[in-house]
């Protein structure tokens, strides 16, 4: 057993599963977005904000945001452990990545539920 404290789910198995589930959620969200844009060629502000006024769309979007946050954390954590060998630099990079993900997530919530 190799000990880790900065990976997302504390266990390799949960990271692995979350990585796959979040990938599927992101794929579905992307497909939905592409489909929506194709079916609304002359997209105007009213249609766009009407879509995001609906609770299900906000939940769907938040799910996608949380998925991208988890996906990025797991993926970038892996990259840092592969390529950044000095511990100081690695921990610093991981901290910056995790903080940035947190900021983007909160910002995303604000955009979704803001005016």
């Amino acid at each position: 057993m190799v000990t880790n404290i900065t990976n997302f789910g504390r266990s390799g198995l949960s990271d692995w599963l979350i990585q796959r589930v979040s990938a599927i959620i992101l794929a579905v969200y992307t497909l939905f977005m592409v489909g929506f844009l194709l079916f609304n060629p002359g997209l105007d502000y009213a249609t766009w904000s009407g879509l995001f006024d609906q609770t299900w769309m906000r939940i769907f979007s938040l799910l996608a945001f949380v998925s991208i946050a988890a996906h990025a954390w797991i993926g970038l954590w892996t990259v840092t452990t592969d390529y950044l060998k000095p511990t100081g630099i690695r921990v610093a990079a991981q901290t910056i990545i995790i903080l940035a993900i947190f900021v983007f997530l909160v910002w995303g919530v604000q955009v979704l539920w803001g005016a």
Binding site: M1, V2, G12, L13, W16, T78, T81, Y83
Partner: protein, 236 residues
């Protein structure tokens, strides 16, 4: 005379400040020799040339090396299989510390092998004669037990290059699964618990270099997938 140009990685830490490639001309007389034969002809030209070999028939696993960019056993690799542009380039297995010339320090590789406890564990009372296994259960070990620990796979695996101290590597994981799959082994839970961290198994990225190079035709990637399935079944 048909001369083959061979370029060999040389490094003697006692006399060389850095490794270098040395050129040799070997007369193959047009025969499709094994790479190991060529190496022994080179040793006749330069007796300081160091490499490992023993069985010279693909059984002992001691002459794993990198031939024109691909890992394999020199003794069972014919020239016709590796020669590119009429030239043979020999290097030690990548990613391991070089002791001298083509001889590498396999320490980290064996440590990972030791870590997966490569022996049968059974806490049930010992039977009078032997622990029996059905032919079907025995079949599950095919494709696993044949590994000769040549390290061709693990030293071709980028995940093992970056984290040889944490990622068990394809060879170790193939053997980990060999004991997980054995109906006579009762330590399955303990074995799985030791593998579920983000490095030991999950650092495998499915690159499949291991499968491409294994001289025994084994498939560590499939075994790694089976371990993942067992971990998932055990934890969900």
């Amino acid at each position: 005379m048909s001369m083959l140009q061979v370029s060999v990685y040389r490094y003697n830490p006692e006399t060389d400040s850095a490794p270098y490639m040395q050129e040799f001309q070997v007369d193959t007389q047009g025969r499709d020799l094994m790479v190991l034969n060529v190496l022994s002809m080179i040793k006749e030209q330069d007796s300081s040339m160091a490499y490992r070999r023993s069985c010279r028939e693909g059984v002992c696993g001691s002459d794993g090396m990198n031939m024109n960019g691909k890992n394999g056993l020199a003794c069972i690799t014919p020239l016709s299989e590796v020669i590119k542009k009429g030239k043979l380039v020999l290097r030690p297995l990548p990613g391991l510390p070089v002791i001298r010339d083509l001889v590498v320090d396999m320490g980290v590789f064996y440590e990972q092998f030791e870590r997966i406890q490569p022996y049968l564990q059974n806490d049930e009372p010992e039977p009078a004669i032997e622990r029996l296994q059905s032919p079907e259960d025995r079949d599950k070990l095919d494709g696993l037990y044949e590994c000769i620990l040549c390290a061709c796979c693990s030293t071709a695996c980028p995940s093992f290059w970056w984290n040889p101290d944490k990622f068990v590597g394809p060879a170790g994981l193939l053997q980990a699964y060999r004991f997980l799959a054995d109906s006579r082994d009762t330590a399955t839970r303990e074995r799985l618990a030791d593998l579920e961290d983000p490095f030991s198994v999950f650092r495998c990225r499915g690159i499949m270099n291991c499968v491409a190079v294994c001289p025994k035709g084994l498939n560590p990637t499939r075994a790694i997938g089976k371990i993942r399935e067992m971990l998932l079944a055990n934890a969900t």
